[in-house]
């Protein structure tokens, strides 16, 4: 054997050993992936189109598949529907700051209705406790705990998605996974969102929530009445937020947070109907728009009763 051949053989051996060692190291580094949940990475999921591009038939197929997945996971057959906006209806939400007592019943009704993750906890409504005399978010208390409410020196301001008419979250989404529907509700296609959280940074009302982990809901707590663009179960890695309970409100019912409110601080209705209560309130009461200066034109307004006074 000539010297050159020997040399080649040695470098070949060394190369192969190096390559094998490198591959083994990469494989070792990747071992955590053996626990990766692949149930959401099937061909069907991969090929699923954007909500707006699906034909009614394709939506039905996806609804069937999702229903099966929910059934497998929660042992419960959901009533999953794709409820469309009603003609000529644009929703408006009003909240009476003089009435709200900060009991947070709305927060919990929302969690139950909309199948939010219980662990880690996700809530769409945040109630702020503020000293009377000003509306300064910097001085708000988010964690006033279980103490007796209302406290005499404070008022309470629940904040949830304002369903802006000029929504910055929709503007910034790189893949159009979130958009404004004809009735004014800003929705998310949970199967299209890539989880970049740009919308979360863009929202001035801190209304959006991200699934940092796979959501957990006890089987007995799952609400089987589901909407495609609203409360069907989400998976880790996508955004979610308040959608005015569209699976209820588009069928003439009221949002869960409104129904549960013990003091009637919440009003909901169609702004295109001149006889609706919301239009009457908007015409006659003092209205406050949170962060009006950011110019997003919310559909969620705060108002004050005539008898509301500071420091009473």
């Amino acid at each position: 054997m000539s010297g050159e051949q020997k040399m080649n053989r040695r470098s070949f051996l060394r190369g192969s050993l190096g390559a094998a060692g490198g591959m083994a190291a990469v494989a070792a580094a990747l071992t955590p992936l053996k626990d990766l949940d692949l149930s959401e990475m099937t061909v069907d999921h991969f090929l699923q189109k954007h909500y707006k591009e699906m034909s009614p038939k394709e939506i039905d197929q996806v609804i069937e598949r999702i229903s099966k997945e929910v059934e497998e996971r929660y042992d419960l057959r959901p009533e999953l529907k794709d409820v469309k906006p009603m003609d000529g209806v644009e929703f408006t939400y009003l909240l009476n700051l003089g009435r709200c007592i900060g009991c947070r019943k709305c927060v919990h009704a929302c969690v139950a209705e909309n199948n939010q993750s219980r662990s880690p906890e996700i809530q769409y409504i945040r109630v702020l406790e503020m000293p009377r005399g000003s509306v300064n978010l910097e001085h708000s208390n988010h964690h006033y705990g279980d103490k007796k409410v209302p406290s005499k020196d404070h008022f309470y301001m629940p904040v949830q998605c304002h369903q802006c008419d000029n929504p910055p979250c929709v503007k910034v989404c790189p893949v159009e996974a979130t958009w404004k529907e004809d009735d004014g509700i800003v929705v998310i296609d949970y199967d299209w969102c890539i989880g970049c959280r740009y919308c979360e940074a863009a929202c001035p009302y801190w209304a959006r929530r991200f699934n940092f982990a796979e959501p957990e809901i006890p089987k007995k707590d799952l609400n089987p009445k589901m909407g495609y663009l609203s409360n069907r179960p989400r998976h880790k890695g996508v955004m979610e937020k308040c959608h005015f309970c569209l699976h209820r409100t588009r069928e003439g019912k009221l949002p869960a947070c409104l129904e549960v409110c013990p003091v009637g601080a919440r009003k909901f209705g169609n702004i295109n109907d001149p006889n609706s209560e919301v239009v009457q309130i908007l015409k006659t009461k003092r209205i406050f728009i949170l962060k009006q200066e950011v110019g997003t034109k919310p559909r969620f307004f705060y108002y004050f009763d005539e008898d509301y006074g500071f420091g009473d």
Binding site: G18, A29, T31, M41, V175, I194, N211, G237
Partner: protein, 414 residues
């Protein structure tokens, strides 16, 4: 075509050849990159709960590094302009290293954005429904990938011409070089607009953000190259004239001065008005409502950058020792200023006034270090290939690189 494949094969082979210092460096980088890969696998399985991010602080270390590295990539233009517009001789043969670093930086940027995604498996959706021109993020996707392609073309073409011992055809690369000058400025401008366009975040919602980004990038980027070029000079026979380093020193001095001036302007506007909108700035510089995790960071950054600038203002910085010190100071100082000092505080307090602080987790830090190691690995390999090609040792009719075991470190093969 056959020649080109052979060229690629030889490049691949030569990237595995070097002396013990080269092997040690590459081994260390590989180990860190693999730790990063391991940490990322954990993140894929468990979700972004493995990071320190929350609904309040929804962007952290990943996006901070991304922002910094876009600037590093754009900084190549600070070598291109002197050479192609002002015909600077000293920098002429070094531009390519700036462009190679831009390639490595953009790769790191793309990785940092990818690891930040909650659903990287849906990456394909970007091609199917692209919210252009409304979403600034889509602009960023376009300009970053465009910049990567431009630099790959320019470097690849010049290196391959040198390999074939042919003169590069002017029309095949000069127009691209000039496009790349504007493109470089655009990548960092678009990245700044990504933040400054958000009315919900007063700390970012400032017209001075894009100029600030450019100024800080044009200091930290060339500062990195000052150090990298000296490493290249030390470990190879490639000629790096002192004049080139001094030219970069002047560029850095001007850029860093502008950066400090803009930071000062920003601080004046935030603090003199004392509006409610300056809560994030208040938190960053002095602490707010008993929380002040970022205060030591930002003052460290300002201290490092100021010291670097003072050193640069004095003639002692003409000596490489002091120049290197100020470069190292500003590479770190600007990383803090743009990362922990700009991305994170915009989220604190939250838009509803909640004070939640951010601290990256070990897993998140490992992923970030892994990406940095991978980027440096790529940069080292690109440099490793380029040096023998440009100095005429690895050409179409030269001997096989494996027969030049010390091609990288010794000076005998001229």
């Amino acid at each position: 075509m056959k020649d080109y494949l052979r060229f690629l094969r030889r490049c691949f082979r030569i990237s595995f050849v070097g002396d013990w210092r080269y092997y040690l460096w590459m081994f260390l980088l590989s180990v860190v990159a693999l730790f990063g890969l391991n940490a990322y696998s954990q993140q894929l399985v468990h979700g972004l709960q493995t990071t320190g991010m929350t609904d309040q602080v929804s962007w952290g270390l990943y996006i901070a590094n991304f922002t910094y590295l876009v600037g590093m990539a754009a900084a190549a233009v600070m070598l291109v302009i002197p050479v192609y517009i002002y015909k600077n001789k000293d920098l002429h043969d070094l531009v390519i290293f700036g462009e190679l670093f831009a390639v490595a930086s953009i790769l790191m940027c793309l990785l940092f954005v990818t690891v930040d995604l909650g659903r990287p498996d849906r990456f394909i959706h970007l091609f199917l429904r692209f919210n252009w021109p409304i979403s600034m993020l889509t602009w960023d996707v376009l300009v970053l990938n465009g910049y990567l392609l431009l630099n790959l073309h320019i470097c690849g073409y010049l290196i391959y011409c040198a390999y074939r011992r042919t003169r590069p055809g002017k029309w095949f690369y000069i127009p691209f070089v000039f496009v790349a000058i504007f493109w470089a400025i655009s990548i960092h401008t678009v990245t700044a607009f990504l933040y400054s366009g958000l009315g919900s975040r007063p700390l970012w919602n400032s017209a001075v953000l894009a100029p600030r980004f450019l100024a800080s990038a044009f200091s930290a980027g060339p500062a990195f190259l000052v150090l990298a070029l000296q490493v290249i000079r030390r470990f190879s026979d490639y000629k790096v004239p002192d004049g080139a380093l001094q030219m970069l020193r002047k560029i850095i001095t001007v850029a860093l001065s502008i950066n400090m001036f803009l930071l000062g302007s920003e601080m004046f506007t935030e603090f003199y008005t004392q509006a409610e909108h300056s809560a994030s700035a208040q938190y960053l510089f002095f602490g707010l409502a008993g929380k002040h995790a970022l205060v030591p960071w930002i003052w460290t950054a300002i201290g490092m950058n100021s010291l670097a600038l003072v050193l640069l203002f004095f003639p002692i910085s003409k000596s490489l020792k002091w120049l290197n010190l100020s470069c190292a100071l500003m590479i770190v100082g600007i990383w803090i200023e743009k990362g922990m000092g700009l991305i994170v505080p915009a989220f604190i307090p939250s838009p509803l006034g909640e004070m939640v602080e951010y601290k990256p987790t070990t897993n998140e830090i490992l992923v970030s270090l892994g990406i940095w190691a991978f980027g440096l690995l790529v940069f080292t390999i690109l440099v490793r290939i380029t040096i023998p090609v440009l100095s005429g040792r690895l050409t179409i009719d030269s001997v096989h690189p494996a027969e030049l075991p010390n091609a990288f470190s010794t000076k005998t093969f001229n």
